[in-house]
């Protein structure tokens, strides 16, 4: 997440919106984004309804056995079509911003 904040200007200049989604409530997200200096939206899905709909739920992996999101990254084109997906097999290994920017530059017609 921090690496995306560090490269956010590269995303903004290409017209790419970056958002994070987790089960954290808005108050936690507000506190965290202020603390860490995140300027992109952190969206709150406390019941994991959307996380379930994207099938990126990690059941009972949170504190006290709570359901949380597994790390996953999606790149959508301007029509809302998925153009690139990263479903890591290791919680510690996340997509890097340059992978996403490379995928975007290969979209071609996706950038209208």
């Amino acid at each position: 997440m921090r690496s995306f904040q560090q490269t956010l200007a590269d995303f903004n200049s290409r017209g790419i919106r970056v958002v994070g989604i987790s089960v954290d409530p808005p108050e936690i997200n507000r506190w965290q984004s202020q603390r860490l200096g995140y300027t992109f939206p952190l969206l709150s899905d406390p019941g994991a309804k959307i996380i379930r709909r994207y099938d990126v739920l990690h059941p009972r992996a949170g504190p006290k056995g709570a359901d949380i999101a597994r790390p996953a990254e999606f790149l959508l084109d301007s029509n809302g079509m998925v153009r690139w997906v990263n479903l890591t097999e290791n919680i510690a290994v996340r997509a890097r911003p340059h992978q996403m920017l490379d995928a975007f530059s290969q979209l071609g017609s996706g950038a209208q």
């Binding site: 997440m1 921090r2 690496s3 995306f4 290409r14 017209g15 790419i16 919106r17 970056v18 958002v19 994070g20 989604i21 987790s22 954290d24 808005p26 936690i28 997200n29 507000r30 965290q32 984004s33 939206p41 952190l42 969206l43 709150s44 959307i50 996380i51 709909r53 994207y54 990126v56 739920l57 990690h58 059941p59 949170g62 504190p63 949380i68 597994r70 996953a72 990254e73 999606f74 959508l76 084109d77 301007s78 029509n79 809302g80 998925v82 153009r83 690139w84 997906v85 479903l87 890591t88 097999e89 290791n90 919680i91 510690a92 290994v93 997509a95 996403m100 979209l107 996706g110 950038a111």
Partner: protein, 153 residues
């Protein structure tokens, strides 16, 4: 006559076996420094910095034990060196289990939207409590990156 060579006598002035202590501290440091190294993708994707510390610490511990058991009349550490080595082995095993097994227990997510599929719509609250829909994000932008993350709790 060399007092240290008298059988059955324990010379309390035997040399300080520093590699045992330093090796143990380096192994403990290798475990706890993960909190630091995990901040950077280059040391998190594969924890080579921690494994390097474990390797250095283990080598020093081996050297210390080798001296303690090889020349017990000169060097201390047969007992506490063995205890430290056992704890170090446990710590390295714990780290390896967490990193190489536990972190890989991620659901398959076989039903996740695939390339070419429409992303499911949503409306969620952002950190200021404002509802944000996927449509809002898509309108006027060339692309949208959704980052699902485990959360800070």
């Amino acid at each position: 006559m060399d007092f240290a060579n008298v059988p059955g006598k324990i010379d309390m002035k035997r040399k300080w076996n520093w590699p045992i202590w330093v090796g143990f501290v380096v192994v403990v440091g290798g475990l706890f420094s993960y909190a630091f190294f995990a901040q950077f993708p280059i040391t998190r994707d594969f924890p080579w910095a921690n494994l390097l510390l474990f390797g250095i610490g283990a080598a020093l511990l081996m050297l210390g034990l080798f001296r303690a058991f090889g020349r017990p009349q000169v060097y201390r550490g047969k007992i506490f060196g063995s205890i430290f080595a056992a704890i170090a082995v446990f710590l390295i095993a714990f780290f390896s289990y967490e990193i190489f097994y536990f972190l890989r227990q991620v659901p398959a997510s076989s039903g996740a939207p695939r390339v070419g599929q429409k992303a499911p719509d949503f409306i969620l609250l952002d950190q200021s409590g404002k509802p944000v829909g996927l449509g809002d994000l898509l309108s006027g932008s060339n692309a949208v990156v959704l980052i699902f993350y485990r959360g800070f709790w």
